[in-house]
Symmetry: D2
Subunit: 89 residues, 4 copies
């Protein structure tokens, strides 16, 4: 991963870890489910945003390198798989 993208990813992961720890605290303290769910949706959005950032980095670097090199079939196969896993199809 490019240096700046990696730093951004680590910052976002720290935020996500703190957020999940906060949700665990809410469950331990038996907070109202609706408030817990709102926090869970927020952390899921943060996770999806980070997925989009990492995928964009992959598309901009590894994919063209792989296709110009000898990994075309593997790179395309991976993208098809990722899309199927991500989308639950």
């Amino acid at each position: 991963m490019q240096e700046d993208r990696q730093q951004d990813a680590l910052k976002r992961l720290s935020y996500i870890e703190g957020h999940v720890a906060g949700i665990r605290k809410m469950v331990e303290d038996d907070k109202y489910c609706v408030d817990i769910l709102r926090q869970m949706y927020a952390v899921r959005k943060a996770l999806e945003k980070l997925e989009a950032i990492i995928l964009e980095g992959h598309l901009r670097t590894c994919v063209p390198e792989g296709i110009r090199g000898n990994r075309e079939d593997a790179v395309i196969q991976e993208l098809v798989q990722l899309y199927n896993i991500a989308g639950n199809h």
Copy 2:
């Protein structure tokens, strides 16, 4: 699109059109909302499945052709955009 993929897509689109017409009939006849929603989820899954099939065709044909040709930047930019639109990020 490849011939067989195109035929498959047209068959799936006919099914989706019939399904949507069936849902319109249910709404006109004021059927129970829960039954209407179940049919809507089914048609959405059919649509998502077709998206996956068309994207897979794109990844296997246009993307490697574009990258080996002179369209690398455009092809990658399109993939990033598609992912962002599809995922709502």
Copy 3:
């Protein structure tokens, strides 16, 4: 369904039907996959929006009526099922 919600749903379904027919035309004319996918995402968003409208109507009318009546278990069971189907869990 309430009269105005039903009229809104029918208008949205007509739009969706026209949109799907337009996508079929694009596939028949062998248009560029990326343009077809953009139209498919747009129609999927329109479908998801209509699901949200119908679910909101259901939550505001049938659910409280069912729970005050004798259908509490059935109504709750349906909501759990709908969420699981909708979310693919």
Copy 4:
């Protein structure tokens, strides 16, 4: 939350926290993006599964209690909001 559902939620949250920490390690060690993305999708699925479990508990306990009590409008309004946040509409 019911005792057993709370215990289940805490166990799942511990798993999610460990999983996110593992992903951070992968990013620090500059692992291949595709492997990182696969782990991220797995943790997202675990999060969505837990959302479904907490929502089911909410639907089975707080919602009928609220509607039989004096919180009907509030309970329904919360469900409409949750669905809109969760679904990104």
